[in-house]
């Protein structure tokens, strides 16, 4: 058995640099896969990448800032609504719409975040849920503006008219840059203050930092990156529906982070990849693929609370010690 509260990995100031070799290899392999595999697989990889970004954005809030969010689908979905509404309703050019998605998500993160940080723990979590319900209500009921249940379709040519592999490559670039920025944030002075507040708000408070301010900063940053992911998703499918801001996306994101492993930067990466692989592959052979995800999640939580990332880290640590011994 492992401890219920896994220690975060030490922040070695000398190894906060990006592992460029690993990053380069992963990016190159993904790029090659996009150009050699069939379109169905390319779509699957594209979707995985989008969710890697969404889950990593959520992970900033869950693993580092000490908050819970039961409504992160909102910031994802508002990314898609941002471009759909500005392009379809206000005739903005596509490029401006692409900017509007993350901006709308950031504003929502700021406003809902401001409300939520007034409370703590489960109460703050319930407030994020309430904010999500309000947003879903607006998306679902305001027929003349949001299109209601039938959403907004056809506001852009699907994938901006790009071929599956070229769109996949675009997503790869945007997601890679976003993850590098998130890495930079987590391993910076600001990231350390966010972690400090997340771990012990009383100690951080006595050293000059207001919990509310720092958590709001983290929540807003997370809103922005969720919005980037959502904008990509909207353009990928060329549509937007109320479900995009709904509970399913929120839940999927939470499951991905837990699966990947709290208190680890790579939680969103492992989590989204495994979740979406199960979705795409297991569902092929077995209708109840969510049952499989459920069983995997239960095993991970019981056997390795630090998730897949925690397991991999322990394995690497073990190997490192053996080679040094």
């Amino acid at each position: 058995m492992t401890e219920a509260n896994p220690p975060s990995r030490p922040l070695d100031v000398d190894s906060t640099a990006v592992n460029w070799k690993l990053t380069g290899v992963l990016v190159a392999l993904t790029a090659i896969a996009l150009f050699v595999l069939d379109p169905r697989s390319v779509f699957a990889i594209t979707e995985v990448m989008i969710f890697v970004l969404f889950a990593s954005a959520l992970n900033l809030v869950l693993s580092y800032s000490g908050m819970v969010s039961f409504g992160h689908g909102v910031y994802f979905g508002l990314g898609a609504y941002g471009i759909a509404l500005t392009v379809a309703r206000f005739d903005w050019p596509i490029w401006a719409g692409l900017m509007a998605g993350p901006v709308l998500a950031t504003i929502a993160g700021l406003v809902y975040g401001f409300l939520s940080v007034q409370l703590t723990f489960i109460y703050a979590g319930m407030l994020t849920l309430a904010c999500a319900e309000v947003t879903f209500g607006i998306a679902h009921q305001w027929f003349s503006f949001t299109g209601g249940e039938s959403g907004i379709t056809g506001y852009v040519v699907t994938r901006l008219g790009l071929s599956p592999e070229m769109f996949g490559l675009t997503v790869l670039i945007v997601v890679t840059v976003s993850l590098l920025l998130l890495w930079r944030i987590v391993h910076s002075p600001l990231g350390l203050v966010i972690r400090a507040v997340g771990e012990n708000p009383m100690r951080a408070g006595a050293m000059g930092h207001n919990r509310k301010t720092i958590q709001l900063i983290a929540f807003t940053i997370s809103g922005f990156f969720s919005g980037v992911a959502g904008t990509l998703y909207g353009v990928f499918h060329g549509n937007v529906f109320p479900d995009y801001v709904g509970a399913q996306f929120t839940l999927d994101g939470l499951v991905m982070v837990l699966l990947g492993g709290l208190y680890s930067f790579s939680a969103g990466i492992y989590g989204a990849v495994i979740f979406k692989l199960a979705d795409n592959i297991v569902s092929h052979y077995f209708e109840l693929w969510e049952l499989v995800i459920g069983i995997i999640l239960m095993s991970v939580i019981i056997l390795s609370p630090a998730g897949i990332a925690g397991y991999v880290n322990r394995l690497l640590e073990h190997l490192r010690r053996r080679t040094h011994a």
Binding site: S8, N200, G205
Partner: protein, 252 residues
């Protein structure tokens, strides 16, 4: 170095009151601490010592009265504002970042109190590495830098918390039972460390302590509290001879 002006008042508390429902925790406390002074606050359980420290640190808000740091009114300020004004504190149960390493704890203390805390530059962190290590050396934790705080001993955690507060460069240090739960030798080692650093950095020290030996060793002045009020005040030798204090606290 020019001498610090002695005699200037660093901290003034006037008629401070704090109720918890019907329970009166602070019933009009008056206190005046000079710059560079070492003041112990003692008294039986429930006397209001920790409540006083919590109001001074901003963790609690006083109901009425005033708290002045120099000429600045501190009433109704938040803990983070108190810290920015130069008040550093430890807690009765040591408060650190348990899932971080000893090194990261000290690094956090530096970054939290730095003006560039919002920076995104990792280079900033690298540049203060040596400074952080030397702060750890002062509290004798440099060899444990890589250990996760959850795994270190109670005494080491208390020392770490003290070191972290020092790293925020306070002018007034509030210590709530700095040696509680420690072994005899460890207590004296810690208080010697506190005295050394307080003297070296010319800090004003206000501490709550139950161990009378430690109190008499460290304090220049002692404030005795009972039932939310200041019961007696004076030099250690005066307090030791005080009839009433002996009855309520020292056990006759």
């Amino acid at each position: 170095m020019p001498e610090q002006p002695t005699g200037a008042v660093a901290l003034t508390v006037r008629s401070l009151r704090k109720n918890f429902g019907k329970f009166v925790a602070l019933d009009g406390v008056d206190l005046s601490v000079r710059q560079g002074e070492r003041r112990a606050v003692i008294g039986p359980n429930g006397a209001g010592k920790t409540t006083l420290i919590n109001v001074l640190g901003g963790q609690l808000v006083g109901d009425s009265g005033s708290v002045m740091l120099g000429t600045r009114n501190l009433m109704k300020k938040y803990p983070h504002q108190m810290s920015r004004l130069g008040i550093g504190r430890t807690f009765q149960i040591s408060s650190t970042f348990p899932r971080m390493t000893v090194f990261d704890n000290m690094l956090s203390a530096h970054v939290c109190s730095a003006s560039w805390w919002f920076s995104l530059s990792a280079g900033r962190l690298k540049r203060i590495k040596d400074e952080v290590m030397s702060e750890l050396e002062i509290i004798h934790l440099d060899r444990m830098a890589d250990q996760v705080v959850e795994d270190i001993s109670h005494g080491d955690r208390k020392r770490l918390e003290f070191g972290m507060v020092l790293a925020t460069k306070p002018s007034l240090l509030l210590l709530d039972e700095p040696t509680a739960g420690m072994g005899l030798q460890e207590r004296h080692e810690l208080i010697d460390l506190v005295l050394k650093e307080v003297t070296r950095r010319k800090l004003t020290l206000v501490f709550v302590e139950h161990d009378i030996d430690i109190v008499f060793k460290a304090a220049e002045h002692i404030t005795v509290m009972a039932l939310g009020k200041v019961f007696a005040e004076g030099k250690p030798e005066e307090i030791a001879k005080h009839q009433g204090v002996q009855e309520i606290y020292l056990g006759g």
